[in-house]
């Protein structure tokens, strides 16, 4: 382990630095009245507003990161002292992948993808290898009101050496359980970056854009809170388990009429005409039985499947897939 020594040293330095000025310990003042006005009414209101913006930025910029998976580049935000990162589902993708985390000052650390929600576009990543990190709190998107001011940070166009996370200020247009729309402009590379309310809490994660300059869509923070434990465990949330077979209507047992190409069933080696007798350790007497057992499985779980092919009994392993609900 030739890197142990310098890394330990670096760790100690980093820790000392954090102890001296722990951004997490920094408190953001309650927003002044001007911030909650539908529109600031004077230069003084605007000045109060920008002072609050700067206080928020002091705390949230150090927690904004760039995530790199191979050549792709997205953004993220650290939300726990031990380095949990919220991002977009299409940035982190499937659990268990290695990912590079570029901190706000350009330092790169290793990370791993945890769970994700492909339907709502939520994702989670963890910085591996220990350490303490500057982080921000997660707020409630459901409390956002149309017209409320928000702040976006991220790495539009990917991480650029010497450029700090890019700040945008705008207002909430619409909010639903699945999306928050603002006029904080976003572009490729911003995906996974955080949207903050004026108290510096994460209320959304950048997800996608439409043609109009005001069509900037964020994943509401609530979904992360609701699925937190599953995301931490590396599970795929908000989806149905998927196998990829079609029932033989004429058969009473679990005989397959067809196997969908490139599906989990096809990957496991199942063929049309196979009769499934056991699924995930449970005896199945009919197709409906099998579906019931399948619905109880978690996507990406490896389960045994016993089939009858002609006179032959075959033991196959299937990795459960997923599809949108």
């Amino acid at each position: 382990m030739r890197f142990c020594r310098p890394l330990a040293l670096l760790g100690a330095l980093l820790w000392a630095g954090l102890a001296a000025a722990d951004p997490a310990a920094k408190s953001i003042p309650e927003p002044p009245a001007a911030v909650s006005k539908a529109a600031p009414e004077s230069i003084d209101d605007l000045k109060a507003f920008q002072e609050q913006t700067r206080a928020v930025l002091d705390k949230v910029i150090p927690a904004t990161v760039c995530l790199r998976v191979g050549q792709a580049s997205g953004s993220g935000v650290i939300v726990s002292k031990d380095g949990l990162i919220l991002t977009a589902g299409h940035v982190s993708g499937e659990p268990g992948k290695k990912i590079k985390v570029v901190l706000h000052d350009g330092k790169t650390v290793e990370g791993e993808t945890l769970g994700f929600g492909p339907a709502i576009d939520s994702g989670m990543v963890k910085i591996t290898g220990g350490g303490e990190w500057p982080y921000v709190e997660v707020g409630a998107a459901k409390d956002l009101k149309p017209g409320q001011w928000v702040i976006a940070t991220g790495h539009p166009g990917g991480y650029k050496k010497g450029r700090s996370p890019v700040v945008r200020v705008g207002r909430v247009g619409l909010r639903s359980d699945t999306v928050v729309q603002t006029d904080c402009t976003l572009v490729g590379g911003d995906s996974g970056g955080p949207l903050f309310d004026m108290t510096g809490k994460v209320v959304g994660i950048h997800s996608r854009i439409g043609m109009p300059i005001v069509a900037n869509i964020h994943v509401p923070s609530d979904t992360y809170k609701e699925t937190w434990d599953d995301l931490v465990k590396g599970e795929i949330v908000g989806v149905s388990p998927y196998f990829g077979v079609t029932q033989d209507d004429m058969a009473k047992d679990c005989k397959l009429a067809a196997v969908t190409p490139r599906s989990p069933a096809a990957d496991a080696g199942l063929k049309a005409g196979d009769v499934i007798t056991k699924f995930a350790g449970k005896d199945v007497a009919s197709y409906d039985d099998m579906v019931k057992v399948l619905q109880a499985q978690k996507p990406l779980a490896q389960v045994p499947v016993e089939v009858l092919r002609g006179d032959e009994v075959k033991e196959l392993k299937v990795k459960i897939g997923w599809r949108r609900k």
């Binding site: 050549q71 977009a88 539009p156 700090s164 911003d190 439409g210 869509i217």
Partner: protein, 418 residues
């Protein structure tokens, strides 16, 4: 040859925006909150003073840019790439019209100096750009003072690595080295060398780090790509590289770029660029400014070229480009102030040799004052341009009228009017 630098991971979807925000139904509701007339009006008190120093620049009678008045006797700074062709005129906030002449140009910073025959113009008072830190409001005054765009400072002023200037686009004539860069590395590190390429013939190997090309420092991958795009097929280049901690120099004769690596003429259609064009018009020239700060103000390309102020009315810089969906770029006051004496060194009616002397003097002063390297570099480039101009005039003694502007001086000389 080079893989894309990164593939931005943001999915574009047809977003279901409810009726009030649908495109074309009510254009006003498609405006960001910061662009609504009521919100812009809020910034009027802060934009008023700088607005007196802001003029509208027109080309052939059409809005082309804003300009910043830099002297009371008629010198105006504007965005050069917007006034390259056509008849240039200026309209002041108090309604006066002037014909304008381009007297000098900084191609690198995309700045042009205009001269009008007018008096009583109000020059800009430049303030430190640091007066508006990241998160502070900024406003772009129109001619006369009504704000046309506002936003916050998104990124503080920074200087990019060279080379600078307008982007270099690969063509059939571009030289080709034939390497694939290691995208995980910060520096220009070779990942693979293409078979039969100029790089292979020169002896470049995977894991080599390119340090300089013909003395031009290579600080990262972008800078290698941009530097090499300045060469043509057949050009010889001296490459300094680092291999296993040792530096060595190689000579490569650049090859022809494969046809499939030449973007179709007109649009360069990368996904990042496509997304950046979504929702607003961009400036034609929007990259390669050496030093700039970023704001999220959504400014029209024709509203670039003038001053930008903070909430106290301090002019913190000059808006130089609408650069992307999320960004507009501003040359900070410090750079504008440093460049002004260089750009104003020669009188508009100076002879070619007087221009060379003026440029030489400006460069000497910039070096003596230890100005930043991007400014000194531009002073040096302007001296070279003045020398090339003088030579051109010696070779074309029958020419009449003003000296051709640098970009007009192509390989073919102009037709001599008799």
């Amino acid at each position: 040859m080079f893989k894309r630098y990164f593939i931005p991971a943001l999915v574009v979807v047809a977003v279901a925006i409810p009726a009030h925000a649908q495109r074309g139904q009510n254009p006003k509701s498609n405006l960001p909150a910061k662009s609504t007339p009521a919100f812009l009006a809020l910034f009027k008190p802060t934009a008023e003073k700088a607005g007196k120093s802001t003029v509208r620049v027109l080309v052939d009678g059409k809005d082309a840019a804003f300009g910043a008045v830099v002297s009371d006797d008629g010198y105006i700074l504007t965005k050069a790439s917007e006034v390259h062709t056509g008849r240039v005129s200026v309209k002041t906030g108090d309604g006066r019209d002037f014909d304008a002449k381009v007297t000098s140009t900084s191609e690198t910073f995309d700045l042009a100096v205009l001269k009008v025959d007018g008096t009583g113009l109000v020059p800009v008072e430049w303030s430190a750009s640091s007066m508006a830190p990241v998160g502070n409001w900024v406003a772009i005054p129109g001619a006369g003072g009504d704000p046309v765009a506002v936003g916050v400072v998104s990124v503080a002023s920074r200087t990019l690595p060279p080379p600078y200037g307008a982007p270099r686009i690969p063509t059939e004539k571009s030289g080709f080295l034939g390497v694939v860069l290691d995208l995980e590395a910060a520096e220009a590190k070779i990942d693979r060398v293409s078979e039969g390429s100029a790089a292979e013939k020169a002896g470049i190997k995977p894991k080599d780090v390119i340090v300089s090309v013909d003395g031009q420092e290579i600080v990262n991958q972008e800078s290698l790509i941009n530097t090499l795009l300045g060469y043509r097929a057949g050009d010889k280049v001296t490459i300094l590289l680092e291999r296993e901690g040792k530096r060595m120099e190689l000579t490569a004769t650049l090859g022809k770029r494969p046809a499939d690596l030449i973007p179709p003429k007109g649009k360069g259609g990368s996904r990042g660029d496509f997304q950046n064009r979504m929702g607003s018009d961009l400036s034609d020239r929007r990259t390669g400014i050496p030093t700039f700060l970023q704001t999220d103000a959504v400014v029209k390309p024709t509203d670039c070229g003038g001053p930008i102020v903070d909430l106290d009315g301090h002019v913190i810089g000059l808006t130089i480009a609408r650069a992307g969906r999320t960004e507009s770029h501003v040359i900070p006051s410090e750079r504008v102030k440093a460049l002004l004496p260089i750009l104003l060194a020669a009188k508009p009616d100076a002879s070619p040799s007087e221009r060379v002397d003026a440029a030489r003097g400006a460069l000497a002063k910039a070096e003596a004052d230890k100005l930043p390297s991007d400014v000194v570099g531009e002073a040096r480039r302007l001296l070279q341009a003045a020398i090339a101009d003088e030579k051109w005039w010696k070779e074309h003694p029958l020419e009449q009228g003003p000296a051709p502007r640098e970009f007009e001086r192509g390989p073919a000389p102009r037709t001599v009017e008799k």
